[in-house]
Symmetry: C2
Subunit: 704 residues, 2 copies
C-alpha cells in the first residue's frame, strides 16, 4: 500500500471503525459515534467495544477482527497502554489508516510508545494521524470522525491545525464568521502524518481550493517545504510562538539572530506560502484565497461611495505594499460619466453618497474589463437611501456579465444588519466581503502576496552546485583529526574558496622570516592575524595588525601578536600568524549560516557593523538559495539603498554579492552534516563590476 | 453668551428648530423631523417652512421669528445661498447655536460664504457646527437631529467624525458590532466648532466616558492638543490619509521627513491621545476605553483553556509591547490548585480543555486580587462540554466579588453562536469581550497606552524658556535687512547660542590674514567654510576644508575655497570664509524643525548619516518639547542603542542631548513667526559628562 492510499483511507474513509466507542454520554467514544451519525456518514460505521451489543443503534463488535466487512480507517480512542495491541489487531485486519484520538503519548513524555506504535503501523502499511487529536472532519465526505461538535460551514478551505482546542473553537466559529471549510484536520503530535503529507494530499483533493495551516512547531521542515512548493493551490499559514523557538547558542552572529519567526518566514516565502498575522487575519485571508484568483499586478482600483472609507483603504493599501496609482485618462473619463459633478474618477473612485446601484454597477462593469486593471475593491457605506443587498447583487451581476474570471474582487460594506446580510450574500456567491475597508484591502494583499510568492518560488528549487565538496571535506577532516570542532580562519577560507567564493589571500607563517617572505609575495600593505583554534575573537586578544607596510613592520607585528596572544591565553595552541592581502575598503556585508532544528542549514544576509549589531537588519533563507531568492534577499533589508549607492557613491556589485550568497548557501547545504554555524564577516563589496572579497571567515563544526 | 453655552445648545438643545423641514419623503428636511420624532426628543420641535402648515403632524412656521417659544438650536437645511439670511434671522430670534447640515460651502470652493456665516453667527453669540454635516445624535438626550437612520447602540463613547458617510455607516454598525455610543457628532467643514471644542465639551459631559475621533485633517492643531491635554477622559483617534498631507518643500532634511502620519502621531502622544490603526481597531479600542480602567503596569496575566490561543495571545502581547512575564511563585502555586496535573501555572495560565466554570472562576477570583497583577486577560475556546454563557457569568461574578475596580479585564471567546451570545452578555455587563485572542490583547494594549501616554503627557506642558529671544531676533532682522530669507551658518549659530546651545566656535574672516589670525585665536586644527547666502550646500560647492593644521594651510584653504565658490556660482554673494573650531569626532546626531500647517513648529530628532538618509529613523514632536518628552525621543528611534554605547563605546551624553532638544524646541517655538525650517546637522555628541557641539547649523526664514 502506498502512502497516498493510506492517507485516502484516513481523510476519506469508505468504512470506519471506532475503537473505544461508548454508550456513555460525555465519553469521547460516544461523541465520535454520535458525530458520525449526525454528519450522515454514508459508509459503514463499526463501533468496537467488547462490553456492548449495540452502540447508539449500531451493532458493536468486540474487536476489529470480528467485523465482517473491510475497514478503511480505524479511530483509536483507547487508553495509550492498549495502543500497540489495537494497532496490531488493525494491521492484521487490513485496516488502511489510523486516526489516533487517544492521548497519553509524547505529549506526556511517552515518546517511545508513540514511536513503537508508528513503527508497528508502518509494518502493516498503515499511516498514523495523531495521536492526541480531535479527529477528521469533511463536508464533502459527510464525515465527522471527531469530537468537535459539528461539520464546519461548507466551503473550499481545508484547515490543518496543530491545536485541538483551537480547531474545535474554529469549527463553530466558521458559522458566525461565514468562512467555509470543506475539511478540518487535527494533526496533534504528528507522530507520522505531518504538515507535508497533509499539504500533498489536500493539493490533490478535488474538494479543496485553498489550504490553511495553524502551525506551532514542525518536524521535517524540508519535506513540508517541498510539498508546498509542488502545490498548485494557495497555502496560508499562521505560525504561532514567535518567541518560543529561542535563539541558538550564539557562537556566531547568525546564531544569535536566527529566531523562529524569521526562519519560518523565510521558509514560507521560499515554499510559496502566504502568511497570516493573527486569527482574524487567518479567517479573512482564507476567505479571499478560497474564492478569488491571485492578484497578478499592482493596478488596484477602488470604487467607493464615501471619501472616508476610501482614504482608510488608501492608507491600508500603502501599508500592505500595494500603493494606489491613478487609472489611465480613458478610464477616468469613462468613470466620470457615472457619478455627480463633485465625484472623483481618480483612485479611489468616489461615486459619492448620491450613488445608487446603477452607478456602482456601471463603474464596476466597465472597470473590471479594462486591461489596465488587475484587481477591484468595492467599498460601500450604508446610507438611508440605498439598499445594501441591491448594491451587492448589482455588483455581482456586473462582474458576472463582464465574463472576467482572472481578476480578483473584494468588497467592504460598513453598516448594520442590512449590510451584514449583503456581506453574507456576497460571500455565499463567491465574492469575499468584509465589514471594514482595511480588511478588504488585506484580502487583496493576500491575493497579491500569493501571486508574487508563487512567481518567486518558481525559481526556488533551481540548484546546480559550483563547489568542490571533496576539497572542503578534506580540510574539515584535517581539523577533526586535530581534535578540533572549529576551523582556523585559513582553513575556513579554503573551504569558502572550494565553493568558488572570492577570499582575501591568506597564508600561514610560522616564523618572522617566513612572514616577511610571504608579505613580499602577497604585496604590501598586508594584514597579520594570530592563528589559533583557541582564540576565536582575534581582535579582542590583540591578535590583529592592519596596514603593515614593510619588512620591518612585519617583524614587529609578528612579535607583538605572539606576545599578546600569550598574554590573552597562555596555553593557546598557536599555529602561527597569517599574512593576508589587505583588501581595499568596501561596503561591509555579513553572510552567515546556522543549522535550524526544523529546516536544517539556513542562511543569513545583512549589512555589517551597526546594521547587524544594533538594528538587527538581516534576512534569512533556507539553503540552498536560488539565484532569484538571493536577489530578493538583497532588497529585503532596510539598509538596501546602501547597496544601490547613496551619498554620491557608486552602486555596489550586487550581482557578485547575489552570486556569493548562492555559493555560500551551497556550501552550507552540501556540508550540512559538518558545519554547525558559519560567518563571513566582513565581506567587502566593491562597486559594480569590481566584485567583492571575503575578508574574514569562521566555521564552527558539528560535534561528532 | 459664552462658548460652552452655545455648545450646550448644539449638543443638548432644550428646543430645536429645523429650518428647511419638509413633508416630502426623501428630503433631508423630512428625515431630520422624522428622526427627531422617532428618537422621542422631549423638547419642542419647530419645523420651519414658509409653504407648509404642518410637517409630520407638527405645526410649521414660516420663519424662526414666528416661533412663539425660545429656540436653543437651529438645524439649517436650506440652500447655501440662503445661509446668511437665515443665520441673521436666528441671531435676531436669540437662537443659541447652529447645526448647519446644508452643503455648498468651502467644500465647493465657497469659503468666503462660510466665513461670513460664522462671523455673522458670532456677532449674535452663536457657534456653528458644520456646514456640510450629517447632524448630531445623542442617546442621553433622545436626540437624533441628523439624517442618520437611528440613534446608535447606547454606550459610553462619543464619536466625532469628519466623514459624514462614515458616521452614518458606523451608526448602524454599532448594533452589529455591539459597541455602544452615547453621541455621534458630525463635524463636517469645521468652519467654527472644531475637534478642540468637541473634546473640551465632551470631557465635561457626564454621559461620555471616552471620546473617539475620526480625523482626516485638522485646522487648529494647538487648540486641539490643549483640549486633549486637559481632558480627564480617554481619547482615541483614527487619523486617515497617511500620504495625503505631503512633505513640505525639502529645503531641509526635516522638511523632507515630516509627513502627516509622523507629525500627528507626535501630537497625539504629547496630547495624551491613544491611536487606532484602522476601523475595526477603532471599535475594539473604543469598547475597552469606555468599559475599563487604564492598565497601570506591565504585569498582565492570561488565563486560558487552550494552549493555541494562549500562544497567539503571547505573540500579540509581544507585538504590542507588553511581553508576558511569569507570575511570582506564590501566585503560580495557588493557581496550580485549580487545574489538572498537566495544566500550566506559568503565563499564560493554561487551565486546559478540562476546565469547567469552577476553575475559571477560582483562578480569576484569586488572580485579580493579587498585588502583582496589573491586568487580566481571560481566553476561552468553545468546547462541547462547557457552556460559554456559564463561564462568562462566572468570570464576571468572580471579578465583581473581588471588589477590584482599578485593574482592567479583557476577554476573548473563540467559538460559534453560543460564544457570540456570551461575548454580547459580557459587553452588556461592562467587560470588553472579543472573538479572537489578539483582539483582547489589543484592548489591553489600548488601556496600557492610555496609562503610559497620560503619564508622559503630564510633563508635556512644562515650559520655561532659557533663550534670549531679543538677541536672536536682532540677528534675524539683520539678515532680513540684507534682503535674505536664510541665515548664514555664522548667523544661525549665533541664534542657536542665544538659546543656550553649545555650538562650535565660528568666526568670519574676510581676508587671508584675518583667517590666519582667527585660526591662531581658536587654536589648530580648524575647519574653514565658505559663507554665502547663495551657497547652502557648502560641501557640494567645494566650500569646506577640514583639519587645517597651520598658517600655511589656512592661506591655501582660503584661496581654494574662494576659487571653488566662484566656479560653483560666479555671482554668489560671498561674505567671506568662516574659521571654525574643529570639534573632535563624536556620534553624529541631527536636530531639525519644520512648520507644520496644522501644528505649527514641530521638531525632529535622529541619528546622522545613513540613519537619517537611508533608514529615515527619526522622531517628531510639536514644540515646545518638555524635558520628559525629550528623553522619550531619545529612546524612540531604532538606532537608540547607539546612544547607550555599543561595540565597547562609552554611553553618549544623553542628558546634554535631551537638554539641547528642549532648548532647540524653545528656539523654534518662540521664533515661530520667523523660522520656517532649520537643521543642526551634525550635532556631535560626546561621552557621558562631555556634552556635545552643534557643528553645523542652518535656518531658513519665513518669507515676509
Amino acid at each position: 500500500m502506498d502512502i497516498f492510499e493510506s492517507l485516502d483511507a484516513i481523510f476519506q474513509p469508505k468504512s470506519i471503525a471506532v475503537i473505544g466507542a461508548s454508550n456513555r454520554a460525555g465519553k469521547i467514544g460516544h461523541s465520535v459515534i454520535t458525530n458520525l451519525i449526525d454528519s450522515k456518514y454514508e459508509g459503514p460505521i463499526y463501533p468496537i467495544n467488547p462490553k456492548e451489543e449495540q452502540i447508539l443503534g449500531l451493532k458493536a463488535y468486540a474487536s476489529v477482527s470480528d467485523v465482517p466487512g473491510d475497514i478503511d480507517a480505524a479511530v483509536l480512542i483507547v487508553p495509550a497502554k492498549f495502543a500497540l495491541q489495537v494497532t496490531k489487531e488493525c494491521g492484521e485486519k487490513g485496516v488502511k489508516g489510523l486516526i489516533v484520538i487517544a492521548s497519553g503519548f509524547s505529549e506526556m513524555g511517552k515518546t517511545d510508545l508513540e514511536h513503537e506504535m508508528v513503527k508497528l503501523a508502518h509494518g502493516y502499511g498503515m499511516k498514523v494521524l495523531g495521536p492526541n487529536i480531535v479527529g477528521v472532519l469533511s463536508n464533502s465526505d459527510k464525515l465527522n470522525a471527531s469530537f468537535a461538535p459539528c461539520l464546519p460551514l461548507p466551503g473550499g478551505a481545508a484547515l490543518v491545525s496543530q491545536s485541538g482546542a483551537l480547531l474545535i473553537a474554529m469549527d463553530t466559529s466558521t458559522y458566525t464568521r461565514r468562512v467555509g471549510f470543506d475539511k478540518l484536520i487535527s494533526i496533534g503530535n504528528m507522530s507520522d502524518v505531518d504538515f507535508g503529507d497533509c499539504v500533498s494530499w489536500l493539493d490533490a483533493d478535488e474538494n479543496t481550493s485553498a489550504i490553511t495551516l495553524y502551525i506551532e512547531g514542525n518536524r521535517d521542515g524540508r519535506k513540508f517545504m517541498k510539498a508546498a512548493q509542488k502545490a498548485t493551490k494557495p497555502i496560508l499559514a499562521l505560525k504561532s510562538g514567535i518567541s518560543a523557538h529561542g535563539a541558538a547558542a550564539a557562537a556566531s552572529h547568525t546564531g544569535s539572530l536566527a529566531g523562529a519567526a524569521k526562519v519560518y518566514s523565510a521558509a514560507f516565502q521560499q515554499a510559496g506560502i502566504v502568511q497570516a498575522t493573527d486569527l482574524n487575519n487567518l479567517f479573512d485571508r482564507t476567505l479571499a484565497l478560497t474564492l478569488q484568483p491571485p492578484l497578478r499586478g499592482d493596478n488596484l482600483l477602488i470604487i467607493t461611495n464615501g471619501g472616508g472609507v476610501g482614504v482608510l483603504a488608501t492608507d491600508a493599501a500603502e501599508r500592505y505594499g500595494i500603493p494606489l496609482t491613478f487609472a489611465p485618462k480613458d478610464v477616468q473619463a469613462e468613470l466620470k460619466k457615472h457619478m455627480p459633478e463633485f465625484g472623483s474618477a481618480k483612485n479611489p473612485v468616489d461615486v459619492t453618497g448620491m450613488a445608487g446601484t446603477d452607478w456602482y454597477v456601471e463603474s464596476c462593469g466597465y472597470a473590471i474589463t479594462h486591461p489596465w486593471l488587475d484587481g477591484l475593491v468595492v467599498l460601500y457605506c450604508e446610507t438611508a437611501v440605498t439598499d445594501p443587498m441591491e448594491i451587492a447583487k448589482g455588483v455581482k451581476q456586473a462582474i458576472d456579465q463582464s465574463g472576467i474570471k482572472d481578476k480578483p474582487v473584494a468588497i467592504s460594506f460598513v453598516g448594520g444588519e442590512r449590510s451584514d446580510a449583503a456581506i453574507r450574500w456576497l460571500v455565499e456567491n463567491g465574492i469575499p466581503a468584509y465589514d471594514a475597508p482595511d480588511t478588504a484591502i488585506n484580502a487583496m494583499a493576500a491575493l497579491r502576496e500569493y501571486a508574487k510568492i508563487k512567481e518567486n518560488a518558481a525559481g526556488a528549487t533551481e540548484y546546480k552546485t559550483s563547489g568542490n565538496r571533496e576539497a572542503a571535506l578534506k580540510i574539515i577532516e584535517g581539523a577533526r583529526a586535530d581534535g578540533r570542532d572549529s576551523l582556523t580562519e585559513i582553513e575556513a577560507k579554503l573551504v569558502f574558496a572550494a565553493y568558488g567564493m572570492s577570499v582575501t589571500k591568506n597564508i600561514l607563517s610560522t616564523s618572522e622570516d617566513d612572514a616577511v617572505r610571504l608579505a613580499n609575495e602577497i604585496g604590501y600593505p598586508v594584514v597579520m592575524k594570530i592563528v589559533s583554534p583557541d582564540i576565536l575573537h582575534k581582535s579582542d586578544a590583540g591578535g590583529v595588525k592592519v596596514n603593515v607596510k614593510d619588512d620591518a613592520g612585519v617583524r614587529e607585528a609578528y612579535q607583538t601578536i605572539l606576545k599578546n596572544a600569550k598574554a590573552y591565553k597562555a596555553d593557546a595552541d598557536v599555529h602561527g600568524v597569517v599574512v593576508q592581502e589587505m583588501a581595499p575598503w568596501g561596503t561591509e556585508v555579513i553572510l552567515g549560516s546556522v543549522n535550524d532544528p526544523t529546516f536544517g542549514p539556513t542562511m543569513m544576509f545583512g549589512l555589517g557593523g551597526i546594521f547587524v549589531e544594533v538594528l538587527k537588519d538581516v534576512t534569512f533563507r533556507v539553503t540552498p538559495v536560488s539565484p532569484v531568492q538571493a536577489k530578493n534577499m538583497l532588497t529585503e533589508i532596510n539598509g538596501a539603498p546602501i547597496l544601490e549607492g547613496v551619498r554620491g557613491e557608486a552602486p555596489r556589485d550586487r550581482k557578485a554579492l547575489a552570486d556569493t550568497i548562492v555559493k555560500y548557501s551551497q556550501m552550507v547545504y552540501e556540508l550540512a552534516d559538518e558545519i554547525s554555524e558559519s560567518d563571513a564577516n566582513p565581506v567587502l563589496v566593491y562597486e559594480d563590476g569590481k566584485a567583492l572579497k571575503v575578508a574574514d571567515a569562521r566555521i564552527i563544526l558539528k560535534k561528532k
